[in-house]
Symmetry: C2
Subunit: 704 residues, 2 copies
């Protein structure tokens, strides 16, 4: 089944540009410049990333499998101290307190910790990314001075107590209250019933001494909505809960068992008025509420918006985990052999099977797309948080972008980890090969820091709003079909969203463009057109919702929920495709550019194949054209085969990051040993004759 001119089979080919084979141009293979591609993948915060990977390679930070959750918790808590000592976690904090005001770099460094142990990444995220960030972004100077030093150096391990047993996605409806009592100048924090208990809170079960507690701020009989309050939880000496506070341990979880998640409840717990983190809303001694943001809705979203970095870092960590898994599975697939269909003596390498290529290369392509998209998200995040571009619209764009990308990358990571685990068979199931361990730990990434389905619905609402803004004055019927312009300059990291509809045109141009599916503009046109048409159709279907009763409006919206979520997903996929295409433009080495273009095409065509019925039903692709999609994908798999190892090597993860026995070359060694044994047996005539051969000989003998 060999069709490949050149099959490096796991060797890392250094020289760049086109490998001019002696046999002439026809068999010339492009080559990937692994180092240059690796550098591009590291992105803007390459130095921080390398530093963090260096740290993540330390055995002290590695997950030890098979520990009890109690042992694992203790180990991870110790590792947090190691991070402090190695100055790995203070980048986002103010320079005045020893940080470096580096927001993008901070996330880049954080997310790399996932390869050491996802529990470490998330526990560090709880302490500095959530608890510390809330004090920093929602509090003011006095709060910073008072608590940030202890938070930064881990003297105050703390909780981010927002989610309740009763409310996760719908934060605005949490039931914990903080009622101001002017007689004592205190807030009274209270969880009035079981559903109001804070739940799934990291650091709550054992380690947390303090907490930022989110509660409905009530003063003078008015509920001003959700605000954040600093609350001391435990006595630092005894580690016992302070009076009025209690809790439960969430116990063993499906993964991330190095984190002590738990529940907290408050029974009329009194805290000083000044413990209100008052950047966006304050109460004076008399109980008068004031806020720089008049609209309670906007105020709420502004406060929550400061916490977007959780989603950004999950997006990056999910990409990192996907890379590690593919590195291991693809390397193994170039060594592992099974079945000898094409020869009597030589078995096939797994990666030469078409199905194996499809399973791994389509996910490799998506991983590249997600990686480049994440880099754009990170730049957008840094733009906003550094203050470089920090308008309301920038923040909204950032949130929508994070809400679009995080669901795709986290689901993709779970899918990739599982596919890699299955592609490695029984060996993939051994915890020493890490797929199952990483998958278990990353499972919850799909629902925490914003449930993926709920996030996609938020994106859909934003798309509808943009659509309405764009076409406020135009008749809906006319606009139900239109295509995008050639606005390639509208990079997503500046606009947050691809602009909806550059101009209106008939569908003809799309059909024409689709003649050559491998063409970049055709892919763009098809992917963009689908998003826009879906949004337009949903908008048309929902037209007039505002004039219905609340109940009927909600029912109408609900009848289109599936379509809306599908549209949001299509939009997010387009963003990934655009990011991949942007990145291609930055590649200078022609060999790398050729191979990455194939990979980008594989990504684009896989999206089109997945939604082929839509393109056919909506007349965007002819039936004949549709049939070529799968064929072209199969051809791309063959083209990519010789470059698979280069493409995973470019991720830049070493053995201390991958740490999978399966990816150490052990399989190749075993295969070589076995083949040498059989060769030597054949050579010295010791090999037993196969009964089948004997039968064939006998039959032949009778015939003669």
């Amino acid at each position: 089944m060999t069709e490949l001119v050149d099959r490096p089979a796991g060797n890392r080919r250094r020289p760049t540009t086109v490998a001019a084979a002696a046999s002439g141009a026809a068999s010339a293979q492009p080559a990937v410049d692994v180092d240059a591609l690796g550098e591009q993948l590291l992105g803007k915060w390459a130095a921080v990333r390398l530093q963090a990977r260096n740290l993540a390679a330390s055995p002290e930070l590695h997950k030890i499998e098979g520990l009890t959750h109690t042992e694992h918790r203790a180990r991870v808590f110790g590792q947090l101290q190691y991070l402090v000592e190695n100055e790995a976690v203070h980048r986002a904090f103010p320079e005045s307190l020893g940080g470096s005001d580096d927001h993008g770099g901070n996330i880049a460094g954080f997310e790399e910790l996932v390869v050491a142990d996802p529990s470490l990444q998330i526990k560090a995220g709880v302490q500095w990314g959530l608890f510390g960030s809330a004090v920093m972004h929602l509090g003011t100077a006095e709060h910073h001075a008072r608590w940030l030093p202890g938070i930064m150096n881990l003297e105050i391990p703390g909780c981010f107590a927002m989610t309740e047993t009763g409310h996760g996605s719908d934060v605005a409806s949490i039931a914990t209250t903080a009622t101001y009592d002017p007689s004592t100048d205190e807030f009274v924090v209270h969880t009035p019933f079981r559903a109001a208990w804070k739940d799934y809170i990291g650091n709550a079960a054992t380690d947390g001494l303090g907490a930022v507690v989110f509660a409905q701020l009530v003063t003078r009989g008015v509920n001003h909505g959700v605000h954040a309050f600093y609350v001391d939880l435990r006595d630092p000496a005894t580690k016992e809960f302070l009076p009025g506070i209690g809790g439960e341990d969430d116990g063993v979880k499906g993964g991330l068992n190095g984190i002590d998640n738990g529940r907290l409840h408050f029974t009329n717990v009194r805290i000083p008025r000044t413990n209100l983190l008052n950047r966006y809303g304050d109460v004076d001694a008399d109980g008068r509420y004031s806020s720089p943001i008049a609209s309670p809705g906007r105020r709420f979203f502004t406060m929550l918006g400061t916490l977007v970095q959780g989603r950004v870092s999950l997006d990056g960590a999910a990409v990192a985990a996907s890379k590690v898994a593919l590195k291991a599975a693809i390397q193994y697939a170039t060594e592992r052999r099974q079945f000898n269909a094409s020869s009597h003596t030589e078995e096939e390498v797994l990666l030469d099977y078409q199905r194996h290529q499809k399973r791994l290369f389509t996910r490799l392509a998506t991983t590249y797309a997600a990686s480049f998209a994440h880099e754009q998200l990170l730049e957008k995040f840094d733009d906003v948080f550094s203050g470089a571009h920090d308008t309301d619209e920038d923040r909204q764009d950032l949130e929508t972008l994070a809400a679009a990308l995080k669901p795709l990358s986290t689901w993709h990571a779970l899918d990739t980890l599982q596919e890699c685990r299955e592609a490695c068979g029984g060996a993939g199931f051994l915890i020493e090969n890490r797929f199952a361990s990483l998958r278990a730990d990353l499972d919850v990434y799909a629902t925490f820091e914003g449930d993926n389905t709920v996030l996609l619905q938020l994106v859909a609402k934003r798309l509808l709003a943009d659509y309405a803004k764009e076409f406020r004055s135009v008749d809906f019927g006319v606009l139900a079909r239109y295509v995008v312009g050639q606005a390639t300059g509208a990079a997503i990291h500046r606009t947050g969203l691809r602009q909806v509809a550059q101009f209106v045109a008939d569908t003809g141009s799309v059909q024409k463009a689709a003649i050559a599916l491998r063409d970049e503009e055709s892919q763009r046109a098809l992917l963009t057109d689908r998003v826009q048409t879906m949004v337009a159709e949903a908008a048309t279907a929902l037209k007039g919702t505002g004039r219905l009763s609340q109940e009927k409006g909600a029912a109408l919206f609900n009848r289109h929920q599936n379509e809306l979520i599908d549209a949001a997903q299509a939009h997010a996929e387009l963003l990934q495709w655009e990011a991949f295409t942007d990145a291609l433009r930055a590649v200078t080495d022609p060999g790398t550019k050729q191979v990455l273009t194939w990979l980008r095409d594989l990504f684009g065509l896989s999206l089109i194949e997945k939604n082929l019925s839509w393109y056919l039903m909506n007349g965007r692709l002819s039936m004949q054209r549709g049939r070529t999609v799968g064929e072209y994908i199969n051809r791309l798999l063959v083209k990519l085969r010789p470059h698979a190892v280069d493409l995973v090597d470019a991720f830049g993860y070493g053995e201390q990051h991958v740490r999978a026995t399966i990816a150490t070359g052990a399989e190749k060694k075993r295969q070589d040993e076995a083949r040498a044994y059989f060769r030597s047996q054949r050579a010295n005539g010791q090999a037993p004759v196969d009964e089948k051969v004997l039968i064939a000989r006998t039959v032949a003998g009778k015939r003669n």
Copy 2:
């Protein structure tokens, strides 16, 4: 968003037939007869199943979460003894030895153990289903008398040592040898290199005293292929390996950590000649080989075929786990509320969201299909193993059926467990709610006892062979398109496969039939046509492979591997659909029949939707018709909504099987408590005024 006339919301409605609502026929809702449906689902071996479920409800057998793998292993080993004492595991063994020669019942009982602890199910499967079965089916009377009593009563915990580090799917190529030495009347068992070590073997790391070892039988310089040998592994007193034998512990795994998987190696280990399990091949004292099956290929497949029950029982266990997960997630979704889009005070129940319905009901439909298909597989299995229908063809049909259904049901279980876990948010991730635990344990079901992808490829080869047989004398071009007849009587449990092509016709009839997608015959025609066309196309593409060189033939086959596996999957889905449809015919209660028909339609239409592009590209559905598929699915979701709880209650699993805190009604209690609190607050005027309301009032005041 309420559109439902009647929403039982978690109540189990007893009375059967149509619930004639007082308001008239228009609003009459069919009702499910939960008990009758439950009985139908229990199937032919209902009594055994109930007995096994009763056992599985015992706390002694339940998985304790958070144990180390060492503790878990010890616990599960103890549980095996409990199974022996409770006479749960001897049904398949001969009556003469205290069994009951009941093969179907044995599997039915085994697979229910998964709800207690999958490790227990699989460890019992290793001991009695693999190790014991191999002695029983591959050995002869002397072997039975010598070893079965000890295997049955667990005096001899043992291994099924087939898979090697180097060969899993390709068993024929294992490298362990058993070479006959006539000078001592012994076989010499030997693993010549590291890849030949037995690996992933249950009971190998600590518990196994004996093993059935698969090795290439070599005598008089001829290799007669893979045979099974009984080998003592450890000294029963010291538990130390016997001379020449060594091993390693596979360590912690992604799941099933109650089983001590490990590696075994043999260095010229001598065993008596009579330890060859000699039912299908024997060696006399002089080293002369004999076998009742002349063809080495047929002999190999016959020996391996006796082990099909592993696949059968995984199919059933995967269905059982899916049922338990859906029971928990659907019950929770009728209690859990989030967001109040349709009212100021009342939040929506999750199961009223369209997306939530789609996520859970499509999987509920597939679970029903897989459950009915499994029952047919079990009956086919019993037919063969009881000797009632035990021809070569019956065995081949059974193997193909198992190879078709096991991949679908095990992947479905993983998908369902994950979707249920995500549908329950953070609570779903807590191990106390079991989704994550079951998912981790069932992960390996996708690759052991036959890798799913490899199994589907086997099915594809069988389909190609059947196709070739059917049309040996007919021109291929003419047959590239044809449709199936109305052979509804050809139940799969008798033929193993739906017969390929009853008669040839043009595609017109399919298109006509598709006018009403909800029509049973239309669904059948569409699903069947797709399988047959795909097989015909693949056959055409592969025509003449036999005349190519081995290498070129393999390359051609490989270029169509994706299509072949897709065809096999389509075939397996059709089998599930037919099984569901067969089961519908057995329903007498009209209400149940109506609801189950909707569910079957949801299954059928979901399959058609998944492959819609194929139907469009191949002219089987018009673009207009294609668009109605999604719409009709959405309508079915609404119709099924009031019956969801009944449909999961009919699975018959009680709290001691589900054991998920989330499904105990705790959520409803919390919701009720919270709503009562807010109601009382509103009633006595204690509720703070919402700032938004205040602003609205102020604005209104200024206007007046």
